[in-house]
Symmetry: C2
Subunit: 189 residues, 2 copies
Amino acid sequence: MDKEKTVKKIQQFYQKRKRMPSFSEVAELIGYKSKNAVSKLVDKLVERELLSKDEQGRLLPGRLMRGVQVLGTVAAGFPSPAEEELCDTLSLDEWLVPHREATFLLKVTGDSMQDAGIVDGDMVLAERGCQPRSGDIVIAEIDHEWTMKYFVRDGAKVVLRPGNTKYPVLVPRCELKIAAIVRGVIRKY
Amino acid sequence: MDKEKTVKKIQQFYQKRKRMPSFSEVAELIGYKSKNAVSKLVDKLVERELLSKDEQGRLLPGRLMRGVQVLGTVAAGFPSPAEEELCDTLSLDEWLVPHREATFLLKVTGDSMQDAGIVDGDMVLAERGCQPRSGDIVIAEIDHEWTMKYFVRDGAKVVLRPGNTKYPVLVPRCELKIAAIVRGVIRKY
DNA sequence: TTGACAGGTGAACGATTGTTCACTAGGATT
DNA sequence: AATCCTAGTGAACAATCGTTCACCTGTCAA
């Protein structure tokens, strides 16, 4: 049986059932009648690092299961199908969210950050409990009002600068609380 | 044992081991000495839809395992911790990538789409094999050169319009191939 | 023709799975 | 004081898990 076909079948299984198949299930997937054949096949796939196994022998989902293919750049030309094989794969969840507990998603309204490429309707990935550095985009409460702005430290003074020349720079009068730092932007069409 | 604590322990286990724990493992996680207690506890968590089970009784990873919290909008004010409990969670992979096989990630170079909020260094999620509609952003080969532009249909004529007034509209001379449609944009800081 | 070898079958193995039963201890209610 | 209910223990159960063995085919090289 073709090894690539097997991996694809397992990928489909994983996507549908949200877990890795057992050896018997793999046998059923690719038409084998014996778990042993699967065992040998899996061992070879593990050797090639296309799959990996538990300490109990169970199959583990690797990057091939969750990820999305990563190709080159647009301007540099479109990669040919032959090159795609060599490319890496990436799990969006793992890539964008290193700390699940402290991270949340926020919908953006308004155009006050459009020069930063963040427009109305975008989703913003924010991480709580971090120390902001000058230049970071932050979710902040300034004088009892919530906004998303650039965090700029100018000597001892701290201001919030919008990413749009239409709006003024905000200087905190009585209070400034930084709730979270923006770690990523997501837009869906 | 606190039910929320249990779910969090399971979440940690899932994030570390990339699979759901067995009942014995759950028992070890939360300090039980009997699988039966776990069985009853899990049944209640399933009733509350905090977990779900296989047809074989095994635990399945739900949205709680993969997802990121979704909060409200920035301009509308920052939700209080009390509200967060009610909020939904979202798996980025499942949300952004409905068709894994046909989707890939591309790095953006240049500023030809900056008015669309796509700037240099962004990652773009593109889907192969779709019919583009007028107004979609596409990855295209025009006269043997690859670019990312708006796809605009004007009667029988088709042009590629950049998202930046600095650049001219592209009218295909000899050939225009649409390779993929841009489904999403991802930026990481 | 012979030998080696990869690929698959089928059956048995111990280990671990989720489920189920009987049972105990502690609170709360009646 | 008597009752009910929840929460947890411990042991037994069939089912399934991954592994391993002997065995049967082809195919390719010597």
